[in-house]
């Protein structure tokens, strides 16, 4: 029995009000089991003094490091215990340098997301054509393409990244390939759905005047699916902008590298600056892509 038939069987068995009640009960039991076992293993503690830690962390977050570019101490002296001055630091210069580095890292992240998304879309296009049910590609090919897409979708970008760093070495290339391979799965599914929801009347219209298959493709299929393709591309690209900020954690460069650096040195002020930049970048991209997608529909 295939997975689909199995789930169907399961859904039928649990339909109706009684079935819903039963499913709710199972869910409640699962949650209780999770909480209960964790409590028994004594893993639900919040640490020794969570409140004080929270206040301290929030306090440091509330003072993002970029403020020092204007308000920092220009003559910060580092002294040893006996009072000798070890080093004098201009906080304003240091933080300005950090901001410049942050800008470069942001650009790297955007490059990884953009090229990775494009790679994913290009890889997914032929696979989506093969999996779309209404185009009726040969069965074995369709099955193969669908498996490739399912595998790509179920492996996390980070896992792809870790493996790829081992293959192509540290740097943005690993990030681009990781983003491309993972989002290929998402793209494939979205593209195939776009092709499956094709307007058959449009195809009949063009076929009925005796158009050749290439003319049918360019005059009926392409105009119908292109807006949906562009819209899915923007959507996944947006996701990848977010995803690629984390890729630095595994050595792909970009903002993630600065995040690891800031967290391992407990520099919450700098982490705060990085997070502000990420939020700004993501929301700007989100706004632009939403505008374009609205205009396309």
């Amino acid at each position: 029995m295939s997975v689909h038939a199995l789930t169907n069987h399961f859904v039928n068995r649990f339909s109706g009000r009684l079935g819903f009640l039963g499913l709710t009960l199972i869910y409640v039991l699962l949650v209780a089991a999770c909480l209960g076992t964790l409590a028994r293993e004594d893993e639900l503690s919040l640490g020794r003094n969570p409140l004080a830690n929270l206040v301290k962390t929030v306090g440091e977050f509330a003072h993002p490091s970029f403020l020092d570019v204007w308000f920092g101490n220009q003559q910060l002296e580092y002294k040893s215990d006996d009072g000798t001055v070890l080093r004098v630091e201009n906080r304003q210069e240091v933080e300005a340098d950090y901001l410049a580095g942050l800008g470069r890292a942001t650009w790297t992240t955007i490059r990884i997301a953009t090229l990775g998304s494009l790679l994913g879309a290009l890889l997914a296009l032929p696979l989506a054509v093969l999996t779309a049910r209404n185009l009726a590609a040969p069965k074995p090919l369709a099955w193969l393409a669908k498996s490739v897409l399912d595998i790509a979708r179920s492996i996390h970008t980070l896992v792809f990244g870790l493996v790829l760093v081992g293959i192509v070495g540290l740097g943005p290339t690993a990030g681009i390939l990781a983003i491309g391979l993972h989002s290929m799965g998402t793209y494939g599914k979205l593209f195939a759905e776009a092709i499956e929801s094709l307007d058959m009347a449009a195809i009949d219209a063009v076929r009925s005047v005796g158009a050749t298959p290439d003319q049918v493709f360019f005059n009926a299929v392409w105009p119908s699916v292109l807006p949906q393709f562009v819209s899915s591309h923007l959507y996944v690209w947006e996701f990848n902008i977010r995803d690629s900020t984390i890729l630095g954690l595994i050595g792909a460069g970009g903002l993630g590298l600065l995040i690891t650096e800031a967290t391992s040195l407990f520099q919450w002020g700098r982490l705060s600056t990085v997070l502000i930049v990420i939020v700004l970048m993501v929301s700007v991209f989100d706004t632009i892509s939403r505008r374009i997608r609205q205009a396309l529909s």
Partner: protein
């Protein structure tokens, strides 16, 4: 004008083990204007699809515009035939995302080939043709409007303008006025009759008052067989009432095409 445009002999169409159409003989001359009437599932649409090769005949001899369709025509030959056959369907056969004028120019795809037809960069004289056709149906002002923003009547007029550009020898109209109000239906029929001045016109009609606009010969289909084939003057209300009388013996009507037939996108 006495050449034969269409000739059917002992033709039978079968789908899912049932005979959709069973015609012993039918012949239509060039320039004739035919209306096909009959209840849902009587085989009217099947007959039209048979004539364009979208529906194969199980056996029998089908000749359309001098081509023998019953011997298994190649896709290439079918396309050449379809270039000469204009079709207009129940309101939906336009490319929704293209503008009205682009939809009209689709009619010229048989003449324009290669990359020009891919990017819809049509030669200037085809564009002039298309605009003239839109003008003829009174829609030149809406030329740049997307087809899915047009009203039902306007869409049918765009389809007629496409026929004008295609210049087919045979026009098949499958209930061209199904979704229209009486005034728009009359106007569309009028334009359709004008577009078919120099060709053979076969239309499926339900509304008896539109028969004089579109036909001078009426063929009544009942359960896949020809019930009558008469000049317009000989068709009266009694004959039509008999034709549409419910038939208890007839099984459920398969007026939906099998999914497999629609799926073959690139044939």
């Amino acid at each position: 004008m006495n050449k034969i445009a269409i000739s059917l002999q002992q033709v039978c169409c079968i789908a899912d083990g049932r005979a959709l159409l069973d015609v012993s003989t039918l012949s239509i001359r060039h320039g004739e204007r035919i209306a096909i009437v009959g209840h849902n599932g009587a085989g009217k649409s099947t007959l039209l699809r048979l004539l364009t090769g979208f529906m194969p005949a199980a056996h029998g001899k089908v000749e359309v515009l001098g081509r023998d369709l019953s011997t298994g025509e190649s896709p290439q030959e079918l396309r050449t035939l379809r270039c000469e056959v204009g079709q207009i369907h129940q309101g939906l056969h336009l490319v929704g995302r293209l503008s009205a004028v682009e939809n009209v120019m689709i009619g010229s795809l048989g003449r324009v080939t290669g990359w020009r037809s891919w990017v819809r960069h049509f030669p200037a004289d085809e564009v002039t043709n298309a605009e003239a056709a839109l003008h003829a149906v009174g829609l030149l002002a809406r030329a740049q409007t997307r087809a899915d923003k047009l009203s039902g009547g306007e869409r049918q007029k765009v389809a007629i303008a496409r026929l004008l550009v295609q210049q087919p020898k045979l026009i098949l109209a499958d209930e061209p006025t199904a979704a229209l109000d009486p005034a728009a239906a009359g106007e569309v029929c009028h334009l359709l009759a004008q577009a078919a001045r120099n060709s053979t016109l076969i239309s499926i009609v339900h509304n008896p008052s539109l028969l004089p606009l579109l036909a001078d010969r009426v063929i009544g289909l009942r359960s896949g067989r020809i019930a009558f084939d008469l000049p317009l003057s000989a068709v009266d209300d009694q004959k039509l009432t008999n034709l549409y009388r419910p038939d208890e013996a007839a099984p459920a009507a398969p007026w939906q095409l099998p999914e497999s037939a629609r799926r073959a996108v690139f044939s």
